[in-house]
Symmetry: C2
DNA sequence: CGCAACGTTGAAAATCGTCAATCGACGTGG
DNA sequence: CCACGTCGATTGACGATTTTCAACGTTGCG
């Protein structure tokens, strides 16, 4: 067994299938073309016709859409092991922006490489499509979050989802996790104002549910938080040994 | 040329590629296993482990998620030519419900058939994945709708998107379209109450923008409606001759 | 005729956004 | 070293949007 089990992507896909040595080597060969981006330097912009995809190795990223009035909606945050821009590969132009929140390291994935992987190792192709399906399921749950939960429930659900995702790649435990997101980023992700984010976080903290302070999320009462948010992690499809 | 050009699925995918005769026959072979469902008889339920997908031939469908408190969020409506349940094929369990709004006719798609299509005709596989990417782009835009637009803009955007989608499969023109959705369905899709849906529709009608009455949507002032909603159809990726 | 589903409207209440101000941490230039 | 500006977090007051509650109208159908 190599050190590749430490790679977030491998850990994540491991929730779907167990790879053979051959598949592992093909997978890691996808991760060779490394690049680094500084926070705020977009990897991709709305309307851009560049059909490049990336795999996030290290750091945090957000994908968002900008509206003509200057406001924006963050669609999701990406953490190590996640794909970036996969949806745009087949669309004529990118429909969203991809912006690093921290300094990041990515692997560039050429479409040609991806297609070769698809034809050579069908199980790996299936695993990639599984990850894509899971990403879509997450977006759907965010839609439910915005449409049918109030601000407190939205926040609770968001923090729990992030915790579950981070656990899967070894970046968080049941007690909490480190998180570089600002209240402005949370606001744009949860469809509310930064002021209200602050109020909601205070409320959750005073109620003894979660504490989000100076870059760290602490679950003070995980069970009650799950109940408040009506959080059912089934959509994350991570039923393996890593799920509690 | 056969009569297959009248098929909504073929028209839709035609916005992405032009098919050869051989590809057309493979595509239509996917549409053989016909089934009919009555309104209200779900094709699929949350948590179900059935990995069947369908292609909608005729009628209207909605996919939605139910919350423990009884409320629901409609993720999208499907119209003829759309896939149903494609995302669930690789997930361990369905993450949403699929419910016919009218009586519908569908073609059942077996995973085995789909995989065979993928290996035999790569261009067709690409077209299917394009459609899936487009569906996801739509969900993302709905997310933006819920997160960053007020009720009037949401409604305007929704009605415009539906119009553009229907045009692509020959079910609507620039003037308007026939639409079986109730105000309750609109409410669950747009994340608001049915009462407010009613008020918003009245406002849009009195402002001379759109009229939605007795199952028919009429664009009274398409340009102003587009401006109100900040509607940019780029995400629908239907840049062909059908887009105005 | 009477029920049921959908549409419509008003009034009161809750949620949330906007505006405005303050504070602490941090880095930079003088 | 200190002044200054910036960014993020925080709080209060006020106002706008939207929900809830309640009632009534309309249509279609058994």
């Amino acid at each position: 067994m190599t050190g590749s089990l430490k790679l977030p992507l491998v850990r994540k896909l491991g929730a779907f299938v167990t790879f053979s040595e051959d598949e592992l080597s093909v997978l890691t060969s996808l991760l060779q073309r490394r690049r680094t981006f500084a926070a705020g330097h977009d990897l991709m912009r709305q309307g851009q016709v560049d059909q490049t995809a990336y795999i996030l190795i290290d750091g945090w990223v957000c994908s968002h859409k900008l509206l003509p009035d200057g406001s924006r909606q963050i669609v999701n945050f990406q953490i190590p092991g996640d794909f970036l821009g996969l949806r745009n590969v087949l669309l004529h132009a990118s429909d969203h922006n991809i912006e690093p929140i921290t300094q990041i390291e990515v692997s560039e994935v050429l479409i040609s490489d991806l297609l070769e992987v698809f034809s050579r190792t069908p199980r790996l192709a299936t695993a990639v499509l599984w990850a894509a399906s899971r990403d879509e399921a997450m977006i759907v749950e965010h839609l439910v979050n915005l449409g049918r939960r109030d601000a407190s429930q939205r926040m609770a659900h968001f923090l729990l989802e992030l915790g579950a995702r981070l656990s899967l790649v070894g970046m968080g435990g049941s007690g909490g996790y480190t998180c570089p997101l600002t209240q402005y980023l949370l606001a744009d992700a949860l469809g509310m104002s930064a002021v209200h984010v602050n109020r909601v976080l205070r409320q959750l903290r005073e109620d003894g549910l979660v504490t989000f302070r100076s870059g760290h999320v602490t679950f003070d009462d995980h069970d009650r938080l799950v109940e408040l948010a009506a959080f059912d992690p089934a959509y994350l499809d991570q039923g393996g040994p890593l799920m509690k």
